[in-house]
């Protein structure tokens, strides 16, 4: 009797546990009572927060919508997925480290796994079309930008729902601003972003909202393509001080196609995602035929060299090739020769990280334009490109390549030339050769400069530059402290020349203020300003004036004009020696992975970003059998150069 009771109580405990597990895993679809509760749930704390900040969270009537809004829905743009795509199969993907949480904010959340559960696989209001650069619908069915470009109106797709079955409504957007501004998430950047960038959220009805932006920008929609993912308020009903620990391993309901069941998290080993059969966007124009594998298994391989081995051995379906050596040496394997593995190279047109030399003009000798011009000609990046990068990369042209029409159309980096370099050095007074062949001026100062870099892997590049610069009579010393120390040194402007790559901007046009405005060069007392990215210490009033105008402008034509003008000035100033760009992405995949006809799209950054590939199980079977019998296929290297810029 007792034992029966015990068992019974145990059973009900189990049920409760299951219910809780289902509630706090967005992978399960809620039903009946639980679903109703979730749909109608409103957080009291959030409501109080809304009331407190009534100038931000506004309520309005649907009739209050401004008249004359131009609603857009991205129709008319081409679809980039393939109608031939087949759903199904299991894909194995590598991650460098096992994620330490499934949260997408807070401690440990910015790991490499995040993009697979959030960035590329969750749905924002609108998404940028990888072909046109315009937008296509995500959670929003339609959108409209106000005249002053400071408010954007959205009509939420009535079909949109979270993976647990709760439909996406206006409150899920209000909740973002409560949640992301909370100190409980311990993410100051997010706190700041959601406080600073947006001015109001107006709810017209459950499916219509408008969001205000602090600054008028020509590309206002940018603030909605990678931010403001609707948050499942009901899932966060235990949101509190202990959020970071309580929600570490809870998978939040997603509006995207893949979910993670608790049983599929094998801590430290692997995580498996499962495709939702009934994903709400399955038949939406721009989302159809994407996210095709049924399951995606993530395994951890920490060493990048080992990743290549694992891929070639068949443990991974696809492999991201990062270097020319990776493309040639690491894939120089029988499985590639026999055609089981295909290599693909896709020329894209995205902003490039600008690997370049930046000259600190506040240092002696380097304030002389002729010395800088000489250094431009004395830096043999052509040799680096040819030998170190095996002819696989291109010379960078300007400080902001890859921004389409916003990049300067015809400026080119100065090519290595001993004569021209020596000519400019002579103009600067460096005419005598020392006993070691390094040029000197009348005062006996040598043309010797130290190049700092925090990149260990680029030491050989500097070695080549050093050796070839000797021909032009310049001595380059190489300083390679540990990364943070190097970064600090450069930020404090203690360098002479730095080899670095700064992040490209998130806008569709380049950024100049950070790198070229005098505000970031000197403090008001005339001393050098630390902690800024103006590594060339550029401070010219006319540049400032242009940059200020550029920053304020909402007119894309004006922006383009100023960008070109500035780029010309930067070129003439010669403090920026353009390095190299990688004009494509490369990958390798087993031949059963299939792609749409054009492989990817113009603005795609990586092969797996758009998730348009699929697994053909027949070809997989055929390939595996061929491998057993030793039958070879034709070796394939696919080059897609439709968007190559000569």
């Amino acid at each position: 009797m007792l034992s029966a009771l015990f068992l019974a109580s145990c059973g009900s405990d189990k049920d409760e546990e299951n219910a809780a597990e289902r509630k706090y895993s967005g992978a399960f679809r809620l039903e009946g009572e639980a679903l109703n509760a979730a749909v109608s749930y409103r957080s009291e704390a959030a409501a109080a927060f809304y009331a407190e900040n009534s100038d931000f969270f506004k309520e309005a009537n649907i009739d209050d919508l401004p008249a004359g809004l131009k609603w857009e829905n991205g129709e008319g743009q081409e679809v980039f997925a393939s109608a031939d795509a087949i759903r199904g199969g299991e894909e194995t993907i590598v991650v460098a480290d096992f994620p330490r949480t499934l949260r997408v904010v807070g401690d440990d959340s910015s790991n490499s796994f995040r993009s697979f559960i959030h960035d590329d696989h969750n749905m924002p209001l609108v998404k940028k079309h990888p072909g046109t650069g315009q937008h296509y619908p995500g959670i929003a069915r339609e959108w409209a930008v106000s005249e002053d470009k400071k408010t954007v109106f959205f009509r939420i797709d009535p079909d949109a729902e979270f993976s647990d079955g709760v439909p996406v409504r206006a409150n899920h957007f209000s909740y973002i601003f409560y949640f992301m501004r909370s100190t409980w998430i311990n993410a100051p950047w997010y706190n700041n972003w959601h406080e600073e960038k947006y001015t109001h959220l107006t709810r017209y009805d459950d499916l219509t909202i408008s969001i205000g932006l602090k600054d008028a920008k020509p590309d206002s929609l940018r603030f909605f393509e990678e931010d403001l993912f609707p948050l499942p308020e009901h899932f966060y009903d235990e949101f509190g001080e202990d959020f970071l620990t309580r929600y570490t391993w809870r998978f939040a309901p997603t509006t995207g196609p893949y979910v993670i069941f608790p049983k599929d998290i094998r801590k430290g080993k692997s995580i498996t995602q499962t495709r939702l059969d009934t994903w709400w966007a399955n038949d939406k124009k721009f989302w159809r035929n994407r996210y095709n594998p049924d399951t995606r298994k993530f395994t951890v391989i920490r060493d990048p060299d080992k990743t290549a081995e694992a891929f070639v051995a068949g443990d991974l379906d696809m492999f991201r090739v990062r270097t020319p050596e990776g493309w040639e040496d690491k894939l120089d394997k029988p499985n590639v020769e026999k055609g089981y593995i295909v290599r693909a190279q896709y020329y894209n047109q995205t902003p490039r990280p600008c690997y370049s030399l930046r000259i600190n003009k506040s240092k002696p000798l380097l304030d002389d334009l002729n010395v800088r011009l000489g250094l431009n000609y004395a830096s043999d990046f052509e040799l680096v490109l040819e030998q170190f990068f095996r002819g696989a990369y291109q010379r960078m042209r300007t400080s902001s390549d890859g921004y389409g029409e916003y990049s300067h159309p015809d400026l080119r980096a100065r090519k290595f030339s001993v004569e021209k370099a020596r000519e400019h050095f002579a103009k600067a007074g460096f005419t005598k050769s020392g006993p070691d062949g390094i040029l000197m001026n009348e005062k006996g100062e040598r043309l010797s400069f130290t190049i700092v870099t925090g990149y260990r892997k680029l030491i050989d590049v500097l070695g080549i530059l050093q050796q070839s610069a000797r021909k032009a009579g310049v001595d380059f010393q190489i300083d390679n402290p540990e990364t943070t120390a190097a970064w600090k040194k450069v930020q404090e402007k203690k360098h002479e020349i730095v080899l670095s790559a700064l992040n490209h901007s998130v806008e569709t046009y380049p950024r100049y203020w950070d790198f070229w405005h005098s505000y970031n060069a000197y403090k008001s007392d005339g001393s050098l300003k630390p902690e800024t990215n103006n590594f060339t210490v550029s401070a010219y009033p006319e540049w400032d004036e242009l940059i200020d105008r550029y920053e304020k402008s909402t007119d894309l034509d004006e922006i383009k004009k100023i960008a070109h003008e500035l780029e010309g000035k930067i070129h003439d100033d010669a403090a920026f020696i353009p390095g190299w760009v990688r004009p494509y992405f490369q990958c390798a995949y087993w031949r059963w992975i299939q792609w749409p006809e054009g492989f990817a799209a113009r603005l795609a950054r990586e092969h797996d970003e758009l998730c348009v590939h699929w697994i053909d199980s027949d070809i997989k079977k055929e390939t595996l059998e061929a491998m057993k019998t030793g039958k070879a296929f034709k070796k394939q290297t696919m080059i897609f150069d439709r968007y190559k810029i000569e």
Partner: protein, 360 residues
Amino acid sequence: MKGFKLNPITVKKLKRFRGIRRGYYSFLIFLFLLIITFWGIGEYFVNSRALAVSYEGKLYFPTHSAFHPGTDFGFDYSYETNYRDLKEKFAEDSESQVENSGGSNWVLMPMVPFNPFENDFIEGKYGPQPPTWEGKHFLGTDNVGRDILARLFYGFRYAMTFALLYMVAVFLIGVTLGCAMGYFGGTFDLLAQRVIEIWQNIPFLYIVIIVAAIIRPNLFILLLIFVVFGWTSLTYYMRTESYREKSRDYVAAARVLGAGNWRIIVRHILPNTISTLVTFLPFVVASAITSLTALDFLNFGLPAPTPSWGELLKRGVQNLNDPWIVTSAFSGLVFVLTIVTFIGEAIREAFDPKKYTVYR
């Protein structure tokens, strides 16, 4: 140090060392390597500059002279002459029988005609190149076309300079302080011991990492750090030795005869402790080489592009597909450490006090 005469027993020990063939020959090989790689001498064996050039009846010896621009030898560039090109040019000239002095020009290149920094790229070929006899890259090149043998050769020079200077410094400090501790004893001994104990607990590797982060280390800064944290171990041996010797009758006798502290230490105690000290020599050298290699391997050692064995090893590990890099570095390291160990073994055997002590 006037008056420091080798103890006859020590002389005997040295003779015995010569008798231990393996150690003795290792010593000779080691000495040979040291000499040919020595500063100023190594350049005659491995260098991109020619040993001698005869051009239009004039002789040039570029190895240690100021640089000769290409224009000096009929090239049209004003940077340093590429002597390998010059050699080819002269060869072509003599073949085409240019009637003027062309035929009498010649260039004598060193055995390995590359310096350890230059990138000898081969058009159309990428990555590390395997060893070739015709290309004169006897051990191949690394991924940026630098000659492995040249880097090994000059890497050895740096490693040995480092190790020998380290040894001298550590012995100087260790012996002086250890001797003083053992001989004077008392409060000084007590204090010095405590200081050493504390000192030994400072994590040496962290210090190197921190220093490497702040300043750009060079051979002498690294040496300084190594010495500052490396001298302690020897003091204890020396302290014990002099403590023991101090209580011997001959020291008392010397003192009775009126010898001062200096004379007693230098003339009596040191010669009698030398056997212990000498045994440590090779091992200190070996540990210095391995430490420097390890630091270079971890990127905290000599600044790039200084040739170094640790860097070469790392490069080899990163390019396992091109085995000549790692093989060269590894064999080189093993070879040197082995002969140093053989020398050490022989010294230990030759200087074994049990064999010669008068106090049986």
